[in-house]
Amino acid sequence: MQRGIDVIMLIIFKNVIYIFLIFAVNLAVCSYLINKVSARSELRRGFIASRAGGLGYPFLEISKYLAKSSRLGIWEIFLLFFSFFIWTVIPFSQTLILIKVDSDLLAAVLFYIILVFFFMVNASSSSYGFVWNNFLKKVLMMFSIFIPMLFSIASLVLINRTLNLREIVGFQYQYWNIIYQPLGFILMLTSAFVQFKLTGLVRKSTILLSENSEKEGAGFGRLITRVSNYSTLFFLLVIIVILYLAGWQNLYFINGNIMFVLKFYILFFLILLLDKATPRLDDYNYLISINWKFIVPISAVNFILTIVFFILRNIYNLI
């Protein structure tokens, strides 16, 4: 019995190592790519290893954060916990998952919402106290863009008739979900893109850093915020790859894991290029107007069409 538990603990430990290794490698590669694109577009110069587009820059950035002293708030500790905890329910392959639950899609979305909420609360709390200025407005801006994402996920769940991410990937062994839900994929990507712009990975975001950007400054707390910023982006991309692009399914003779990495980086590059081509999107009126007048209605129509399709096919057996 004792030996059995040891083996299970070892397997879990091995998985933990794998997942966080993937996370760390991805973090270094993605921050390198982001800096490279920014440096290319701004024609910045510097020493080869430590310049903005250099390989050593992500590590230099970490040391820059660590060199400054700052207090670590309670919300930052929550944020650190959740930005890692979110990866426990996401499968990277059929076996590489920490907590096996039946409805892990639901859990993942729930954890993600909590993570973003902590993110915003952390940004509003400062050494001077909690800054309530425009907090509800920012919450509205951030969470109203979740609605098309949730609609798209709901339509996809109706098609696959499961809340389990591994089963959803298994469902796509023949045709990817993007063929059944092209509109849903575009809406999901748009939502992810707007969230990426709002959380301000590349440039200063008014949603997260308007009030206390000068107070917090750099430091370990800022490093945590940055890591969780990357965590939200990776989550969105991984979820899109799993839901619409068949996750780790093999493509002909290409290995599934390689396909997973390829699809992830293609989406990542797409979002980076879109980010460079579009201006800042933190204008409250503009964002709310395009969201409620354009993106949300389309996603609702997509959802209703999927329901109609679902009823005709599974209840009346017409299609």
């Binding site: 577009s41 460079k276 579009t278 201006p279 999107l281 204008d283 409250y284 503009y286």
Partner: protein
């Protein structure tokens, strides 16, 4: 034909018109005005403080004069006597004039007291004069949002005080106290040589215009005639500076909106234009190239060919920049209908330049006055209609295209003349005299009032367009959202250098 025009056989209708106004002033305001002078296409009147209000009323109400715009009010000391300098202009009749009002008091405090007493009376006639009054509303308790000068990049010369209703602005005040660093008599009694080298600081984005304005004034005083080649080179340099300044404006707008690619691209393009400027003048920002009676150095025929060759590249790049910035629906949605100003507001604030033309008033002293040799060149005055931020950006692009057209004409037909050495200003002997001169700089009409004796400059008063743009900003900010404050102020192209005077 052009040569004959230049030699003064033909006098423009503008000069004839100025003569008529001058005679009218003599006729209507005979007893109230001490002296009327015509200083280089502008009128200059000297009067006593007691007759100021009646003269202002007459100038406003008499349809012969029809002056509706007050451009500036300055308090200064001339010949040991405190004076007020009031800039007025009439866009309908297309002329402008300066009033020099002699104050009674001889002391510093006394003159300020008189200034304070007389301003409310001027405000009753011209409402825009309230900008020059002491503004008690500039307190933190009266306003609920204050953007101090360090908040926005590039607008470090004034604080913005806002009174808001949730996120809509009710009242706005712009305070330039932070930029009043220069003492009042900084330029007083300095030699012309010193002034000539340092005057370009008044406009850091296009430093050629203050130099040009000063040199035009002194040349007019010394009655020096400048050769056509020099005139054309001056026009060439000023149009290049205009392009550079407008591209810098576009870069600032792109920065405010957050369009990274447009921002980087516009700075790169500005670099190309600055390189040409550097090739000719030897400097990028403060050229110190235009001298009295000429220019510092003539350039070779290859340089003109090089400039002409690089024009097509600049044109393509500016077109690309325009499509990059204005073909984006997110950006145009942001610019459209923000900071709308109609014609009347723009005129009442005394705004000039692209900001006025964006509101639909055709006023450009390159066309309206006999400025240098612009009358020989073919170009259009870019016009807007609605006066919103989008128009103000578009009009800059159109002006860049027109400037490229002007440069193309100059470089293809540059007269081959011998350029004389500039005048040695150390030997100039001149009795006490005054002169006004104005040029159309990228922000508006840049005007200087200069008092000289021998080679000493007794007074130099810079009447830049940015001060009017500040008052204009106060008028158009109410009704807009707090988020758009930076965008609206960036769209007015306020130059901090002019505010420090």
């Amino acid at each position: 034909m052009a040569k004959e025009l230049y030699d003064g056989i033909y006098s423009s209708h503008k000069l004839v018109f100025i003569e008529r106004i001058e005679k009218n002033i003599d006729y209507y305001l005979k007893n109230r005005i001490l002296e009327v002078k015509r200083l280089q296409q502008e009128l200059f009147c000297v009067l006593n403080k007691s007759s100021l209000i009646s003269v202002l009323k007459e100038l406003k109400e008499n349809p012969e004069f029809d002056i509706q715009v007050i451009n500036s009010i300055n308090l200064f000391k001339s010949n040991g006597r405190y004076c007020l300098l009031i800039g007025l202009s009439s866009v309908a009749n297309n002329y402008s004039m300066l009033l020099k009002v002699l104050l009674n008091s001889g002391t510093d405090d006394g003159s300020r007291q008189e200034y304070k007493e007389i301003l409310p009376e001027i405000v009753q006639i011209f409402k825009a004069a309230e900008f020059y009054m002491s503004r008690n509303n500039l307190t933190h308790s009266y306003n609920d949002a204050v953007f101090e000068s360090q908040v926005f990049d590039g607008f470090d010369s004034f604080d913005i005080f806002l009174s808001t209703d949730y996120d809509i602005i009710n009242r706005a005040y712009l305070d330039t106290a932070i930029s009043r660093v220069l003492p009042q008599n900084f330029n007083k009694d300095s030699s012309l040589f010193d002034l000539q080298t340092s005057v370009s600081r008044y406009d850091y984005s296009a430093g050629i215009f203050p130099e040009l304005c000063l040199c035009l004034a002194v040349e007019e005083l010394l009655k020096i005639k400048v050769s056509r080649r020099v005139q054309y080179i001056r026009i060439l340099l000023s149009e290049l500076s205009r392009i550079s300044s407008h591209i810098y404006f576009v870069a600032r707008i792109a920065k405010v909106i957050g369009a990274d690619m447009a921002f980087n691209f516009s700075l790169l393009e500005r670099e190309h234009v600055l390189r040409i400027l550097e090739e000719i003048t030897g400097s990028r920002i403060n050229p110190n190239f235009i001298k009295i009676g000429g220019i510092k150095k003539d350039f070779k025929p290859e340089t003109a060919a090089n400039i002409k060759g690089s024009l097509s590249g600049i044109l393509k790049a500016v077109y690309k920049l325009e499509t990059l910035l204005l073909d984006n629906s997110i950006i145009t949605a942001k610019l459209k209908n923000t900071g709308v100003a109609d014609k009347d507001v723009a005129l009442a604030c005394g705004t000039t330049g692209p900001n006025l033309r964006a509101s639909g008033v055709r006023y450009d002293i390159r066309k309206n006055r006999n400025l240098m040799l612009y009358k020989d060149l073919s170009f259009l005055v870019a016009m807007g209609k609605y006066g919103d931020c989008l128009e103000r950006v578009q009009i800059r692009f159109r002006e860049i295209y027109q400037s490229i057209k002007i440069i193309d004409q100059i470089t293809s037909d540059l007269p081959d003349e011998y350029i004389k050495k500039p005048v040695d200003i150390s030997e100039v002997e001149l009795e006490y005299s005054e002169m006004i001169s104005s040029v159309e700089c990228p922000h508006g009409v840049f005007k200087t009032f200069i008092e000289m004796k021998d080679n000493r400059v007794l007074n130099l008063i810079v009447l830049g367009p940015s001060r009017n743009s500040l008052y204009f900003a106060e008028k158009i900010l109410p009704g807009n959202r707090v988020e758009d404050v930076e965008l609206i102020i960036a769209s007015l192209d306020i130059c901090s250098g002019e505010l420090m005077s």
